[in-house]
Each structure stands twice: as structure tokens, then as C-alpha cells.
């Protein structure tokens, strides 16, 4: 960035953050530029590739920026924040200002998922990779059209197929994580004690119901 040179040493704005934090302001600038134009959450590795930097300093810079926007480095809390959601980092309006923005952009009527779709989604999220047949045996209803809806909305996706039966396995997408406001499946509520029994139940279903 040679074009940067003439401007960099402005007298009353020494790049003060760099020395004490160990974070390179030029790296931060490049990351901020990508985040400003990105239309999806950016994973650290993708960001590192975009700014042509090793992963480790990128990770450090992203953390530093998120804290900086939160006002933790002597500045003030910005109107935007850097959130890790849906497998990557993305700029968001700070939550407390959402009402202001809703008024400004005019709120769209969100299309909500039906109860059947939500339950099917929950089963896929916890049991993935899972076939429609397995989901149907847990919900005890036909889930084909619901799965179609979830596919069209990008909340689930095909993740492979059973080599023997050809049945398609479904799993959830990063878009689902983003819709839930979480960054990984680990952040789903814990229900494992109940699920421990599930595999037995599936076998049992297989023997009795077919």
C-alpha cells in the first residue's frame, strides 16, 4: 500500500492503537474494507485470503475490531457491531438501535416457518445427517413438503446419500445458524440426555412400524 504513505503520518493522529495492541492498523483497514462490502458472514480463513494475510493476525485483528466497535479501546461504543454469526463475521446495526432502523427502512412482514417446519428443522439440526424417513419416524408424519420448504429457504441442504438405499441425508446450513443468531451448532440448547435414547427408538421403530 504505497499510496498510503503520504497520509499515514498525520501529526495529530499517530496510529496509536498499533503499538500497544500489537494489531497492524493496515490489516484492520483491509479487513474493515472487506466487511463493508461483504454480503455474507466472512469466516476467518476467507477473510485472510481476501486480505492476503496469515490467519493468526487476521483472527487477532477481527477480535480487536469487534472490541473496538464496542468501545473497549478508549473510543465510544459505535452504532454498529461486529458479530460472529452463521460461521463468520459480519457488521450489524447494534441491537439496541434495531427499532430505529426498522422505523427507517419500514419493516417487512417476515415469512415465518410453520410449527411443522420448525419441528422438522429441529430434528434435522440435532440428528444430522439424517434421512427424511428418519425424520418422519420421529415426527410420525410425512415431512416431504416441509423438507422442500426448508431446502428452498436454504435452511437445510443435502449432505450425501446412503450408498445402499440411495436415501438422501440432510443437514443444516450456515444460513440457519445466521437465522438463529448463533455461530455453531454447539450453541443449540442441550437436549442430549433425551437424545441418547433416540437411536434405540429408531431401531425399535424400524422393527415395529415397517
Amino acid at each position: 500500500m504505497t499510496r498510503d504513505a503520504p497520509e499515514a503520518p498525520t501529526p495529530d493522529a499517530p496510529e496509536a492503537t498499533a503499538p500497544d495492541s500489537g494489531v497492524d492498523p493496515e490489516l484492520c483497514r483491509r479487513i474493515e474494507a472487506i466487511l463493508l462490502i461483504a454480503e455474507e458472514p466472512q469466516g476467518i480463513v476467507a477473510l485472510a485470503a481476501a486480505v492476503a494475510s496469515p490467519v493468526r493476525p487476521v483472527r487477532a485483528a477481527v477480535s480487536w475490531l469487534a472490541a473496538d466497535y464496542d468501545g473497549e479501546h478508549g473510543g465510544y461504543r459505535r452504532g454498529f457491531e461486529l458479530r460472529e454469526v452463521g460461521g463468520g463475521w459480519r457488521l450489524y446495526v447494534r441491537e439496541e438501535l434495531d427499532d430505529l432502523i426498522s422505523d427507517y427502512v419500514g419493516s417487512q412482514v417476515p415469512t415465518r416457518l410453520s410449527q411443522a417446519a420448525l419441528e422438522t428443522l429441529a430434528v434435522i439440526a440435532y440428528k444430522q445427517p439424517v434421512t427424511r424417513g428418519q425424520v418422519a419416524s420421529i415426527r410420525a408424519v410425512n415431512v416431504d413438503s416441509v423438507v422442500r420448504t426448508l431446502l428452498a429457504r436454504g435452511l437445510v441442504t443435502e449432505v450425501g446419500s446412503d450408498p445402499e438405499t440411495g436415501a438422501i441425508f440432510y443437514g443444516t446450513t450456515d444460513a440457519l445458524l445466521a437465522h438463529l443468531g448463533i455461530n455453531s451448532l454447539d450453541e443449540l440448547p442441550h437436549i442430549s440426555p433425551l437424545l441418547d435414547d433416540v437411536d434405540d427408538v429408531a431401531t425399535f421403530d424400524g422393527e415395529v412400524r415397517r
Binding site: R90, Q115, A116, L118, I138, A140
Partner: protein
């Protein structure tokens, strides 16, 4: 079952969400159906004391009055739960004091499994509520989502385009063809159908050329049980049509078949085994 009212208070939040839904009024319990399930799942209410037919009657009455999609959705849900309850109840009514034999043990195990299934179903239902809340919260959030500046778009390398209008139309046809989600074939679960008539034709051929054969000869080298069965049935059919006779020298001994038909045409063959057609 001690006192449903007390437990209901203890349930707090859950009872609140089910107040609007289906309620039941039974001798042992009066309140939201959802709460009934909770009590059963916590073994605070004995399933054997619940009159399922009454629950079902009340639910059907409730559905008649139902108008909203929400309420109708409850219908399918109810069927799941009712079926599970019924299974549990059957298991619950069976004697379970002593494990007299393996069958009883299996039934007890089955009840536990049904129980697990009910719990699992409820777990997913509760998690689905969490999904709904999280999604509603998140859809209020505003990410940065601004059209790319045209100056950047202009610098994108030129698109490589190779399609003619006809190619493009063919793609459209492909895209508009409904993509049925492939269904799981059940073929692997059933042996392929075997035609008795086809097998009879083979049997007739073999017997006409050899005159006398044992049944063992007739199925020599056949591994598919379905074909063996079909050949045996066709032998019975041919016997009914007086096309062959058979002898057995000793019990469990070889079955000796002899072709006896004077006149035998393909028409006889066509009418053979009609009893097995469905």
C-alpha cells in the same frame, strides 16, 4: 396422581403457553393437554387411569371448532401423541410385577422405548419453540447489506458465455421440471415378485421333455426361496389341472412328478394360477 393443580403451578411457564390450545377434562385430570403429557412423562399421572377414548372425543370436538392453521396443525401432532399414549397404555395395562418370560420383558422394554419416544418428541417440540424465538429475535437484526458499488462491478473479468437461445430454453425446461424429492425405494425390502405362471411354464417344459422328475430336480440350482415356492405352487396347480401326478415313497422323501397330460396347450397355462392373481 396426587393433585394436578399443585403440579400445574409448578409447571409455570409451560402451562402458560398451552393455555390457548387443546384442554381436556377427565376424571383424573382437568387442564391443558400439553400439561397432561408433562405429568405422564414425569410419571406423576398413571397412564392407565387416563381414558384415551374420552381424550380423543374431546379432541375431535375441539377440532370441529378449530379454524386457524395453528389449531389444525395440532391435529397431526395429537395423532402422534395419542398413538404413543395408546401404545404406552397397552404396555401399562399388562401385568408387570414379575418378569415371567422373555416376552413380558420385551413388552416392558417396549414401554420404556415408547416412553423415550414420547420424551424425544416433546424435546424436539420444545427445541422448536426455541428455534422460533431465536429466529424472531434475529430477524429484527440488521446486517450490513448494501449493493456493490458499480465501480467495483465494472472491474470484474468478462463473463464467458457459450449458450445459444435454444440451449438456454433447454436449461429452462430442465429448471422448470419439478424436482421431486427422490423417495426411498422400498424394493430392497421386498423380494421381487415371482410369477407362478412363468414358473409353471418352466415346470411344464422340464416335465414334458423328461417325463418323470423329482421336485428336487425341478428346483436344482435355484437359490431364491420365492422361485422354489412358486414352482411348488405351480406343481399343485398343474396337479389340479390333472397335468401331472405325484408320488412320495416315504414321509419326507423325494416327491416324484410325472407328466400325465394328454392335451396341454398354452391356453391351459394362461389360466393357471388365476387364484393367486390379486
Amino acid at each position: 396422581m396426587n393433585d394436578p393443580a399443585v403440579v400445574e403451578q409448578g409447571q409455570g411457564g409451560r402451562a402458560e403457553s398451552s393455555d390457548s390450545g387443546f384442554r381436556v377434562s377427565l376424571g383424573v385430570f382437568d387442564g391443558p393437554f400439553d400439561l397432561l403429557l408433562t405429568l405422564i412423562s414425569k410419571q406423576e399421572l398413571d397412564i392407565t387411569e387416563v381414558a384415551l377414548s374420552k381424550v380423543t372425543d374431546e379432541f375431535i370436538a375441539y377440532l370441529r371448532a378449530a379454524r386457524s392453521a395453528d389449531e389444525l396443525e395440532e391435529a397431526s401432532e395429537f395423532l402422534v401423541v395419542a398413538a404413543t399414549l395408546l401404545d404406552m397404555k397397552i404396555a401399562g395395562l399388562l401385568p408387570q410385577g414379575e418378569l415371567v418370560d422373555a416376552e413380558a420383558a420385551a413388552l416392558l422394554e417396549a414401554r420404556d422405548l415408547l416412553f423415550a419416544r414420547l420424551l424425544q418428541y416433546r424435546a424436539f417440540k420444545e427445541v422448536a419453540a426455541w428455534f422460533a424465538r431465536s429466529m424472531q429475535r434475529e430477524e429484527r437484526r440488521h446486517p450490513r447489506e448494501v449493493r456493490l458499488d458499480p465501480k467495483y462491478r465494472a472491474r470484474v473479468p468478462e463473463l464467458v458465455w457459450t449458450l445459444t437461445p435454444d440451449d438456454f430454453a433447454a436449461l429452462a425446461v430442465l429448471a422448470f421440471t419439478p424436482k421431486e424429492i427422490p423417495t426411498v425405494g422400498l424394493d430392497h425390502l421386498h423380494a421381487p415378485l415371482v410369477s407362478i405362471r412363468e414358473q409353471a411354464a418352466i415346470v411344464v417344459d422340464m416335465l414334458q421333455s423328461a417325463g418323470t422328475l423329482t421336485f428336487r430336480d425341478l428346483v436344482a440350482g435355484i437359490r431364491e426361496p420365492g422361485i422354489v415356492v412358486a414352482r411348488f405352487l405351480s406343481v399343485l396347480e398343474l396337479y389340479r389341472h390333472a397335468a401331472l401326478s405325484f408320488d412320495q415313497d416315504e414321509p419326507l422323501g423325494d416327491l416324484i412328478l410325472q407328466w400325465t397330460a394328454v392335451r396341454w396347450t398354452d391356453e391351459n397355462l394362461a389360466s393357471l394360477g388365476a387364484d393367486y392373481d390379486t
